[in-house]
């Protein structure tokens, strides 16, 4: 059977987890609840990668998303959260149109995926292990790898410059 090591029940659990948490991010009234939902959602995505036998990606997901990105967002929430009183509206005026649009897009793309002939899939999931992946990263994809480090450096400098106190700016 193609995709022989596909576990339907584990897939259903992970999918339900991820989707429910994503809905929690979108629908929560409090920003902090959204953030907690987001952390749980990213954790679920890490399990999804593990189910796909992409172990390195799963570990990276936990390190980068659950670790770093969540902390940055939590700090931003703590540095900014004051809204109360008059800001009781959580959705903007286009919320209904956005819901219809998102639902239509989801239905259309899902139907297309199911209807399209995706072609033969492998007997079992095959992802490169850590050894193969690192040799790929430092051999075939070494230029994008170095460019990403430049992008991260630029983002770091940019964040420091942007978030600096106003008085220090000339």
């Amino acid at each position: 059977m193609p995709g022989g090591d596909f576990h339907p029940w584990l897939f259903v659990i992970v999918a339900a987890w991820v989707l429910v948490c994503a809905l929690g991010v979108v629908a929560s009234k409090k920003v902090m609840y959204s953030a907690v939902s987001m952390v749980l959602c990213f954790l679920g995505v890490a399990f999804a990668y593990a189910l796909l036998h992409a172990e390195l990606i799963a570990i990276m997901q936990i390190l980068v998303y659950v670790g770093a990105i969540s902390i940055v967002i939590l700090f931003a929430i703590m540095l900014t959260e004051v809204q109360d009183g008059e800001y009781r509206q959580f959705f903007n005026r286009q919320a209904i149109a956005a819901a219809v649009l998102a639902a239509l897009a989801a239905a259309a793309i899902s139907v297309t995926i199911v209807a399209a002939d995706i072609g033969p899939i492998g007997e079992k999931t095959l992802n490169p292990g850590v050894r193969e992946l690192s040799s790929l990263l430092f051999d075939r994809y070494v230029l994008p790898f170095e460019l990403v480090s430049l992008v991260l450096l630029a983002a770091m400098i940019g964040a420091i410059v942007l978030a600096r106190k106003e008085e220090e700016r000339r």
Binding site: A22, S34, Q61, A76, N92, G122, L136, L152, A163
Partner: protein, 102 residues
């Protein structure tokens, strides 16, 4: 439906939930979180295709790693902009950002 299609449908649903959050929420931090969910959905699709189809070995996995790094850069700059903007306007509501100048 084969397993790859199930994974891709999951990615599509996750992407559309994120898109709804980006379009409909007023709090800019929640908008950024929804954006991260959209990026995760794309990553799931990439890893799923990479694990079920034999193309360039490891291509999709490496691509997913790069997307993660760029998402980290994006959220860093995004949160810095949110904090800088908050200093100016004391708000994180998107419809209060009605002038794009200092």
């Amino acid at each position: 439906m084969n397993p790859l299609e199930w994974w891709l449908v999951l990615a599509v649903l996750l992407f559309c939930i994120g898109a709804y959050g980006v379009l409909a929420r007023r709090n800019v931090i929640v908008v950024v979180m929804s954006l991260e969910i959209m990026l995760s959905a794309v990553n799931i699709a990439l890893v799923a295709i990479a694990s079920f189809r034999t193309g360039v070995p490891g291509g999709g996995t490496v691509f997913a790693l790069f997307i993660m790094a760029l998402a980290a850069a994006e959220v860093t700059v995004g949160m810095a902009i949110v904090i800088a903007n908050y200093r100016h306007r004391r708000t994180v509501q998107t419809d209060q950002y009605d002038e794009l100048k200092g």
